[in-house]
């Protein structure tokens, strides 16, 4: 696609940047995300969620870690407050991500409610794509671009989840096993790749080990205990390393 001439009508420019945003949803990171949703559809089905519940959850929660935590909490028989607390802890990371995105997204006349609406599409993949590509989008077209990118990712993956859920029964066990491995591998690599400081790498290592250990020791609270203990430990390691470094 060529850049439309700058004197083209505003509606034409909007359509152009909307289209560019939609196309960005089908880039490599977008497709890798869809592979993780293939695995998630299988996970939710095994956990006993209905097709509509699974698709509803995909659109309304959107962040995949939050959904996997939610399914995990329900599987381990957590109560509503315990499940909400675990999901909330896993989603705190979204706040600093949105904080970082706002200056990139906001134009001179952007309304506040547009930003609140668009923030629902923020999760690791759309955030990484937006932070990388928004600087090359004209400022007045950025909410259009991100709206197209975010909504396309959400709607397309709702479709992916529905299709995989519907055909999962007809797949052989070995294929299902391979699909189930997609979600943890997606997180293992994307979490490590998006880490900004050593604390996040320590937190990953601690969490990976503490999760299964606490699953045995304190079922129902395994995620909370592993998250808080692993995160606190990682932060302490981060501070100790920072202190050892010459100022």
């Amino acid at each position: 696609m060529d850049e439309p001439p700058s004197n083209s009508p505003p509606s034409g420019r909007t359509a152009y940047w909307y289209g560019r945003g939609m196309l960005a949803a089908f880039s490599i990171p977008g497709l890798i995300l869809s592979s993780a949703f293939i695995g998630f559809a299988g996970l939710a089905k095994e956990a006993g969620f209905s097709l509509t519940q699974t698709v509803f959850m995909t659109g309304i929660v959107w962040a995949l870690p939050a959904k996997v935590v939610l399914v995990g909490a329900i599987l381990s028989g957590a109560s509503l407050p315990a499940a909400a607390f675990a999901v909330a802890l896993s989603s705190v990371r979204l706040m600093p991500m949105v904080v970082a995105l706002m200056p990139e997204l906001r134009g001179p006349h952007t309304r506040k409610w547009v930003l609140y609406l668009l923030s629902h599409c923020v999760a690791v993949t759309s955030w990484v794509l937006a932070m990388e590509r928004l600087p090359r989008v004209p400022r007045t077209m950025r909410t259009t671009y991100y709206g197209a990118l975010g909504s396309t990712l959400v709607l397309f993956n709702m479709g992916v989840v529905a299709v995989v859920y519907a055909v999962a029964d007809r797949l052989p066990d070995s294929v299902l096993a391979a699909l189930f491995l997609l979600t943890p591998m997606y997180f293992l690599t994307s979490l490590w790749g998006s880490a900004r400081e050593s604390a996040a790498h320590f937190a990953m290592a601690f969490g990976l080990v503490l999760g299964p250990v606490m699953h045995v020791l304190v079922p129902g609270f395994d995620l909370l205990v592993a998250g808080i203990a692993g995160g606190a430990g990682a932060y302490v390691m981060h501070r100790l390393r920072a202190r050892r470094r010459p100022a």
Binding site: M95, E197, G231
Partner: protein, 116 residues
Amino acid sequence: MTFHSIDAWWWPYLFILIAGWLATDMWRFLGVYFGGRISERSEALVAVRAVATALVAAVIGNLIVFPTGALADTPLALRLGAAGLGFAAFLLARRKMLLGIAVAEVVLALGLWLGV
């Protein structure tokens, strides 16, 4: 009050709305509210990110060590080997996600095929 404690069609949706949507979107909305007012680099946010990362890592660990469904029938050593080799390939190839995921899948498929 668990996911299965009320036998009505709307209860699972209400559960997902409160424990899923509210628990997630409140952070996004706070992010819009605070946008430009707090620094991403503040120490409090480093600690917050560490807890969130450990929690998601705990989920990953459980998905690999205590999986559900078809993956549960595969040997633990094969799952650990597949994930470990995939992650090693990801690190060696300068963080190419696609390669890491592909290596893990190939190791798992080979293991299942050979009947490990």
